[in-house]
Amino acid sequence: MVFFLLKMAFKNAVRHRLRAMLTLSGIVVAILAFGLLRTVVGAWYAGADAASDKRLITRSSISLVFSLPIAYGERIRQVPGVSSVSWANWFGGVYIEEKNFFPQFAVDPVTYLPLYPEFVLDEASQKAFIRDRRGAMVGRKLAQRFGWKVGDVVTLRGTIFPGSWSFVVRGIYKGRNQSTDENQFLFHWDYLNEKIRTVAPRYADRTGVFVVGIQDGSAAAEISQQVDALFKNSLAETLTETEKAFQLGFVAMTEVIVQAIEIVSFVVILIIMAVMANTMAMSARERTAEYATLKALGFQPMSVGSLIFAESMVLGLAGGAMGIVLTYPAVRAIGGALDNIFPIFNVADKTVWMQLGASLVIGLSAACVPSIRAMRVRIVDGLRAIA
């Protein structure tokens, strides 16, 4: 019986070829668009989502543009609960052309790498990177993008730190998670600092941020306060926050846009829900006499209602499945084009679940009114709806 009803529902769904095709493509496009928009939103928050709750970021309380004395690191390490301290300095160099943007950080490899276990690099390469003062460690995607191999020399044109800077690729790291940024370029802070000391000693021995490793993520607020208290009323006051909060700080500027995209993604679903509901209402109305006949033959109203639900679900899920399948190549294509804006542009599992959920909701909601109507209509009235 269930199988029979399903078969009938399926045949009903494709009864009007053109209508079925149009509705189906509508759902496909909506689910695809939904998936893409969700992916954009996800990409925006990717940095924050990938952030570890075991890391704090300490920076100048005035602005990121101002650097902090490297000596602060020693004092931060004394704060109870702090397990390690490292630092990173934004470099902002240009590789050949401006449009080849990717993030570059001058770091202290020995302390930095243990703080970022999500950057996966074999031990030999790690050692090679640490040993070579001009060495660089680059993300897999970045290396792919420019065809870099270990041993290649990469030259960046400094903007904040003028001059031509050459590095040797010593390691290509892989991300441990889908959300790990594989577009970073890391090199020795010592190398940078050395050069600065010779040309502009006033700017030497400083860094943009400290990365503070803590043992217990739940103590983050307390430790942050204690760190900032250390430098209260000094020349360079600090602002310490979790890595996540730090990353969200970048997003906050554009949060309104992201929220708008998020709203649009739901509006797309709402629109297709209305379109689909209309299609189902139209189809069910045309079949009033058929449903009445089924009831006359002894089918319970519930069975007739299920028939309509099944038909609607067939359309919703078929469209949804196609939309989901198409999301992957679409995201890959768009991700390739937007690589330097969104280092992480993946279809998250959550997005797929949401797409699936949306397809279900589209199917279910469209079936509600017509199936209740078909269940309720008196048989004699339904039969008169013929001819």
Binding site: T293, K295, L383
Partner: protein, 242 residues
């Protein structure tokens, strides 16, 4: 099963339209015996279909009692009534009312979905019923690939496949040409004569009505006395009225 197949007592049906009562049937009482073939005639709007629908359990009377095989069907709940119809009533409609997305065989199989038969048994029964109406080679055809007469024969196969107590037909030949109508009436004749099915048929057509055992006229909500059909028996005659 000693009593009548169908027994109506003081049956009344009033529709409400725009707050106004529209009495269609006022006080209908009569019996239909097992094995009867009754034709209901009357002018358009006289309530023939309404009466037939009440007997078939797809509509509820506003008064009186309808017993079919001694079951007071007016007392059954909607869901019980649906089960009851599945077991006891075969329907034949003027416009066949087949499911366009199902083949002839599947259409006939449809009412068997509500029985405990397995798939193979259902197929066999449906096949047999289609053979009985002479459509054995059309099992895989969809309704739109069949003529009106053939569609009505599929509908008849669907009506008999569950072996119901009662077969109701509302103008079964109303949409057919004379020849096809004759074939349908012959079939009904055989269902009644050979299988002993009790049949109630609404018709406008005197010739169709004459194929029945008896005719009742409905006018202004009241039923005429039983008339014995004049031309009975005519089973051997191959072209009936249409």
């Amino acid at each position: 099963m000693s009593g009548p197949a169908v027994s109506l007592r003081a049956v009344a049906k009033t529709y409400w339209r725009g707050g106004q009562p529209v009495p269609v049937l006022t006080d209908i009482s009569f019996d239909i015996q097992h094995g009867d073939f009754l034709a209901l005639m009357g002018p358009s709007g006289s309530g023939k279909s309404t009466l037939l629908n009440l007997i078939a359990g797809i509509d509820q009377p506003t008064g009186g009692e309808i017993r079919v095989d001694d079951v007071d069907i007016a007392r059954l709940s909607e869901s019980e009534l649906a089960d009851w119809r599945a077991r006891h009533v075969g329907f034949i409609f003027q416009f066949y009312n087949l499911m366009p997305v199902l083949t002839a065989l599947e259409n006939v199989e449809l009412p068997l979905m509500l029985t405990s038969l397995n798939r193979r048994q259902r197929r066999e029964h449906a096949q047999l019923a289609l053979e009985m109406v002479g459509l054995a080679e059309r099992v895989g055809h969809y309704p739109n690939e069949l003529s009106g007469g053939q569609q009505q024969r599929v509908a008849i196969a669907r009506a008999i496949v569950t072996d119901p107590t009662l077969i109701v037909a509302d103008e079964p030949t109303g949409d057919l040409d004379r020849k096809s109508a004759g074939e349908i009436l012959d079939l009904l004749d055989r269902l009644n004569g050979d299988l002993g099915k009790t049949i109630v048929m609404v018709t406008h057509d005197q010739r169709a009505a004459e194929r029945a055992h008896a005719i009742r006229h409905l006018e202004k909500g009241e039923l005429s006395a039983l008339e014995v059909a004049v031309s009975r028996p005519v089973t051997s005659e191959r072209e009936g009225g249409g």
